[in-house]
Every structure is written in structure tokens, then in C-alpha cells.
Symmetry: C2
Subunit: 120 residues, 2 copies
């Protein structure tokens, strides 16, 4: 069946959560949001474009920083309301310069930073 972004289930704001996972290591890098148009742009260009809820605009990941995400494979979940993207991430995915946004672990009830910012 040909994939059609309009067949996904978007929320009341027309958005769907998209998880980015390193296609080589399996590390979960970040989660952000897409609308149908940002997903179409992602598929057309091969580079991940999200929808920025705070700026209310397209967010071509890495456009200014160079930390682009190249789409390796798109996956859709059973309910068609969440996306998983296997990506080739250049440099850090996180705006804090860490490889992943999930750098805070909860261990024995305490928050622990488990990743340091990457060298420039």
C-alpha cells in the first residue's frame, strides 16, 4: 500500500509525535512533533523537518546548526498516531549539545546527568 501522510491520526492541532532513533546504535535521540506537511517535506528531502510548536513554524532540523537528521527509515505505529524515524544524526541531536535529549536518568529517586555535551 502506498504510504499517504494524510492517513495518519493527527491530534486536535494537526500534529503527530515523531521519535528519532539513531539507526546504528539504537539510541533514542529526541521526540518532537510533525504535521502532515512537515512529514511530506521530510520524505521529499530525506532530511527531518519537524513542526515547532513554540515558534509555530517548520523546523528543518539542523538548518542553522548543521546538526541535521537524515532519514534512514520511517515507521508508523499500530494506531497510526505515532512515528518512529531511524535517522543518521550529524553531531548532537539536543540543543544542549548532547547527543540525545534524554540525558537525565532517574536513579534511586535522584536525577542524574548521564551524558555530557559533545565537543565542538
Amino acid at each position: 500500500m502506498t504510504f499517504d501522510p494524510s492517513t495518519l491520526k493527527y491530534d486536535a492541532n494537526g500534529l503527530i509525535p515523531a521519535i528519532a532513533q539513531d539507526h546504528k546504535t539504537g539510541e533514542v535521540l529526541m521526540m518532537a512533533w510533525m504535521n502532515a506537511e512537515s512529514l511530506s517535506r521530510t520524505l521529499e528531502t530525506g532530511q527531518v523537518t519537524y513542526w515547532s510548536r513554540s515558534r509555530q513554524s517548520f523546523w528543518a532540523k539542523g538548518e542553522s546548526s548543521g546538526h541535521v537528521q537524515k532519514l534512514v527509515e520511517l515507521r508508523v505505529d499500530c494506531d497510526r498516531d505515532c512515528l518512529l524515524m531511524l535517522v543518521d544524526q550529524i553531531g548532537p541531536a539536543c540543543h544542549t549539545n548532547r547527543r540525545s535529549c534524554f540525558y537525565t536518568a532517574v536513579r534511586s529517586g535522584e536525577e542524574v546527568e548521564i551524558l555530557v555535551p559533545m565537543a565542538d
Copy 2:
């Protein structure tokens, strides 16, 4: 710093997305939603409890099926508005009996099923 579920950023419905990842293989199994109370229950019991948006009730994963998710480690993202849970998943995570909910890949523009249901 002691972790406090009330310090997370929940959406207008009091929910936060929670990604479940196999702690051994790195496979992303599913994404569902939690409220502060379901997260507290998860931390207290060590078994993942979501909030079911369709049923508007707590959803102790695997309560009826036995396909429980044991929490191995909780992680919080930089914006504190998304959770990553490393879990020990018993059996399939997906209600279709597949190991992961993300069993549909988009390859050359076509939807392809990449996982088959697990044997009982």
C-alpha cells in the same frame, strides 16, 4: 536533585508522552501517555502504568494479558515534556501480539510489515 513527577511539563490534558524501549536490544516498543499519578504508580510498583486516553482510566500495562513492562530506568528529556523508559518487556508490547507497535515501515513509498505476531 530528587525527582518529582510534578516538575514535568504536562499538556493541556495533564499528559506527557512516554516512550518504551527494550533495555537490552534498544528496540523502541511503543509510545503511550502518562499523567503524574500513573508515573508515580510506575515508580512505586516498578511496572509501567499508562493513562488510557480512549478509556480515560489508568492502564497497568499487561494487567490482563500478562505482557507487563518492568521499568529498568526512567529518563527525562531536556524540555521535561517527554519520557523515555528502558523496560523489560514480557512478550509482545503491541495489542496485535507483535513485539513492537512500530511494525510498519515505509520503504520506497510503500507500507511494509516488518514484524509478524509472536507465537503464543
